[in-house]
Amino acid sequence: MSHDSSTRDRAFGNPKRDLLLALGGFAAFVVLSFGVLVALNPANAARLRSLGIKSPSGEKPIEITLIHTNDTWGYTEPCG
């Protein structure tokens, strides 16, 4: 009898524990899904970035030539 009983316990588990596991799994699924949806929403992107997500950066150094003018007043002459 005792052998039969322990076999049945292993087969069907503890109903209370199974319920808790199921509820926990469902809650984790809901939280994860919500997180993914929030992260993919462009409206939330800026807020998430402000929480510390890093600026973009390159993979290699870069050299740039910057040519600059100011206060040219639209002159075509005398030279510039």
Partner: protein
């Protein structure tokens, strides 16, 4: 202008990555054809030279008014930027505050600033406040930050002191000479020219900038180019000038 175009073309021909920027007050002032065309001639020629961006100075706004300024912005193939010029009585900016340009695998953010002041239709608020508000947002989109400012040299230095993350400030308005100044923040402040009646646009600044992979400025080599008779006229601009009567 024809000599300026030659300098730009020669730099382009070297095959390097080039940015051509103007720090404002370059649409018009006291001379034709810019005065007569309300800056349209300036836009045409800056389009030909391939400018990437320009900051709005009050001198670009005041004589035109909003309607003509919007026409000029529509004609320009480059953005005119200001993070602090608002349509009076509103919270609406006159134009984009900044742009982000992709260069290789880097993102270069360029923010425009106008000197504080007002016209009948436009109110330019404190540029330091605007920089404080906008640059953190721009830093999330770009690893290299360039400020294109007509706010004036003292204000530009305060911005560099108070707002982290700026690599270069291209400075406009009149100030002592043309120069490249290293600031305590690590940013450099570049200024090409000081205009006076009859003499404007005679100098161009050329800076060779090296950034590491994170977008930090490692070194710079700047020079002022005086557009004197040693420079030939660019044929495309000469042709444009032939078609556009000048006084």
């Amino acid at each position: 202008m024809a000599r300026r175009a030659t300098v730009i073309r020669e730099e382009r021909n070297k095959g390097q990555r080039i940015l051509v920027l103007d720090a404002g007050a370059s649409l018009l002032n006291d001379r034709d054809p810019a005065k007569k065309t309300l800056g349209k001639s300036s836009i045409e020629i800056m389009n030909l030279m391939g400018y990437d961006a320009m900051a709005l100075g009050l001198l670009d706004i005041s004589p035109l008014g909003l309607s003509a300024l919007r026409q000029r912005m529509a004609e320009a193939k480059f953005p005119m930027l200001s993070a602090n010029a608002y349509i009076s009585g509103t919270k609406e900016l006159v134009t984009k505050p900044y742009i982000v340009i992709e260069m290789a695998d880097h993102h270069v953010g360029i923010l425009g600033l106008t000197e504080a002041g007002s016209t009948d239709e436009v109110m330019a608020i404190d540029p330091i406040q605007a920089a404080r508000e906008q640059i953190p947002e721009l830093r999330r989109q770009a690893d290299i930050i360039i400020v294109l400012s007509h706010a004036g040299p003292e204000t530009d230095q305060q911005i560099a002191d108070q707002v982290p993350g700026i690599a270069v400030i291209v400075s406009g308005r009149n100030q002592q000479g043309a120069e490249a100044v290293g600031l305590p923040s690590g940013a450099i402040l570049l200024h090409a020219d000081s205009a006076s009646p009859g003499h404007a646009g005679e100098n161009v600044g050329v800076a060779h900038l090296s950034f590491d992979k994170a977008g930090h400025l490692l070194k710079q080599d700047w020079r002022r180019v005086v557009l004197d008779g040693n420079w030939s006229d660019d044929p495309q601009i000469v042709e444009w000038m032939r078609r556009t009567p000048t006084p």
